[in-house]
Amino acid sequence: MVGPMTITERARKKAEKLDRLGELSAARDEERGVSLWQEAFRRLRRNPAAIVGTVVLGLFLLVAIVGPFFVPYAPTDTIGIREGLVKSGQGIIPGPSGDHWFGFDHQGRDEFSRLVVGARQTLLVGVVSTLIGLAIGALVGGVAGAAAGLGGRWGRWIDTALMRVVDMMLALPSLLLAVSIAALLGASLTTVMIAVGVVSVPVFARLLRGSMIAQANSDYVLAATSLGVRRSKIAIGHVLPNSLAPVIVQATLTLATAIIEAAALSFLGLGNPDTAIPEWGVMLADAQPYLGIRPALAIYPAVAIIITALGFTLLGEAMREALDPKLRK
């Protein structure tokens, strides 16, 4: 039998309870809020697509950056011909062996070494051209979006003028535009990067502009206006940061397209004129005459391109999901 609680017991229990409450609220004081970016990152870490994408891209980065220092043969060394193993004129191109993991290419160079060194070129072209597109596109789109959303009558004129130019670029098929630019500037690696970058300008510009206009019409911009915050500060402090999520996602996805487009330009012979420097697109083009003899020569760079593009796409899609405000719980 448990006797009735004495008054002192009750008081002690109550005091304990109050202490616990106090501890809880003290803990709350310490705790900091979770920002949207932090929450998005947390969601990203739980997404299997993001993990796969990150692993693929991590490997790609590792290969591209440190790979060239560890390749077994120089990518320009025509060792196969020197040793008399490769006679492409007679259709003799040996496949994989212990010394040469992926065999030789048509000029007797070690295919594996060329693939590894080619990753660096691919990364360079992909990243630089995406950055070019992002920089110009974000500038054009940002100015147009801020002008249209907050600039009044004059702003809408600026926006219309900028967007008509962008629309003209958008009207041309992207590869045709890239080929024209490459033809105009002459074939070189820089040309490829500029051409691929310029092609993605309208996408970034349109995206950022649309996103900014949507944000500029939101209640919190109205609230900031009624607080008396300056328009320029509203544009940079509220509208722009809230419009960036789709652009970041698009940049990740564009990296994939940029790699494919750069490969296409190289394949068409508009890339780096020094074909001795390995690049996946060039390797694909070089492999074409020998498709009947050794199709693997085309398959290696093609698979490399596909896996890399897939990695970027997976990560981009996962980021889109993580940053989507509708999916926030």
Binding site: I213, A223, T225, L227
Partner: protein
């Protein structure tokens, strides 16, 4: 002259806000490359109202009647097409942008949706500090922090809220953040646009009472826009009833609810249920026929005559009534006295088609009405 204006020359008259013939017309544009104005949506079409200092003016009306636009035009958030807004002796509509910006400190707004009116990437501290920075209030971080903490206290939010983000709060707490943001600048006028309609009923009372307390404490002047008649009655000293961009009746709160004079107000009031089942069963309800006419093409004469059960063959259809003083109320109805005395009996109204044939034959071509200062 400007000095006199800013020092508040009309202070002795006791009116903080005087609105005269305010108009907000949104152009309806058509065309792919070059916009052609094909008409105007007359969201607010000639409104006069006066808000005495320290009082609450309630604005009611069905959705789409222009009450929110009126509130925004009053604060110059939507540039008015015509008319005057006089705030403490300063004519706001003609103020250059920079002067207007510094005037904003004295007039603030509370929004309907507390989530969308808070920047999701700002924590509460940065939300509250923004206004202070914009007006250079508070010498340094600690001084500003002091003001913010006091404001948080005033709206009943805990100190740990400062580092939190809007999505981490409940609806009622978010609305408190919105109120704190408005209060932190020490304004005289607050325009509250449907301040509680997005909240749970249980929270609504808390927020309404908070607004009430703040008014007592700080001597605030409110313009409360709402469609909830009970909320408006509770909080307002004077209530204005809007219909299709214009005021149809304005009266002290109790009087309006006790004895509505305008036919539209009568219909509105008859929609409020009475908490007595016997009275509720016996009382007469006035059901309006048809929809709200299009503000792009409002009816000629009295705007309400197409739906009015008391409409008369003369005057109603061709002469627009102005607000007339009848007792304590101001009513825009030609026949208010006769209707009130029972001389004119209500009759049946057949619903009219809202969209006349001369307007909008292909709705797909007409773009949404855009605000003059925005892009759609």
């Amino acid at each position: 002259m400007t000095d006199v204006e800013e020092s508040g020359a009309t202070g002795q008259s006791g009116n903080l806000v005087e609105v005269r013939d305010l108009k907000v017309h949104f152009p309806i544009t058509r065309g792919v490359l070059f916009d052609r104005v094909v008409g105007h949506v007359k969201a607010v079409d000639g409104v006069d109202l006066t808000i005495p200092r320290g009082k609450t003016y309630g604005l009611v009306g069905e959705s789409g009647c222009g009450k929110s636009t009126l509130g925004r035009a009053l604060l110059q958030l939507t540039p008015p097409t015509g008319g005057q807004v006089n705030f403490d002796g300063v004519e706001l509509t003609k103020l250059p942008p920079n002067r207007l910006r510094s005037m904003r400190r004295r007039m603030q707004m509370i929004f309907q949706d507390p989530m969308s009116s808070l920047d999701p990437r700002q924590n509460v501290e940065s939300i509250l500090v923004e206004g202070l920075q914009a007006h250079g209030i508070g010498a340094d971080r600690t001084a500003r922090r002091d003001i913010i903490t006091k404001t948080l206290d005033a709206v009943g939010l805990p100190k740990w809220a400062l580092s939190r983000y809007p999505h981490e709060f409940s609806g009622g707490q978010r609305q408190r953040i919105g109120i704190a943001r408005a209060l932190v600048l020490g304004p005289e006028l607050i325009v509250a646009d449907e301040p509680v309609s997005a909240l749970d009923v249980s929270i609504q009372a808390q927020v309404v009472n908070l607004l009430d307390e703040l008014q007592d404490e700080l001597g605030l002047t409110y313009l409360v826009i709402a469609h909830d008649l009970a909320v408006v009655r509770h909080i307002s000293d004077v209530v204005g009833v809007m219909y299709l961009g214009a005021l149809v009746e304005e009266a002290p709160s109790d009087r309006l609810y006790r004895e509505p004079l305008h036919p539209y107000t009568r219909a509105l009031m008859s929609a409020v249920p009475v908490p007595d089942p016997e009275v509720e069963d016996r009382r007469e309800r006035i059901l309006l026929a048809g929809d709200l006419p299009s503000p792009a093409n409002p009816p000629a004469g009295c705007r309400f005559h197409t739906r009015c059960p008391w409409a008369q063959p003369t005057r109603c259809a061709d002469e627009r009534p102005v607000l007339r003083q009848i007792g304590e109320s101001r009513v825009a109805c030609h026949w208010a006295e006769q209707i009130n005395s029972g001389e004119i009996r209500p009759h049946k109204v057949t619903a009219q088609i809202v969209r006349p044939e001369d307007e909008g034959e292909t709705p797909g071509v007409v773009s949404a009405p855009s605000e003059p200062g925005s892009f759609v």
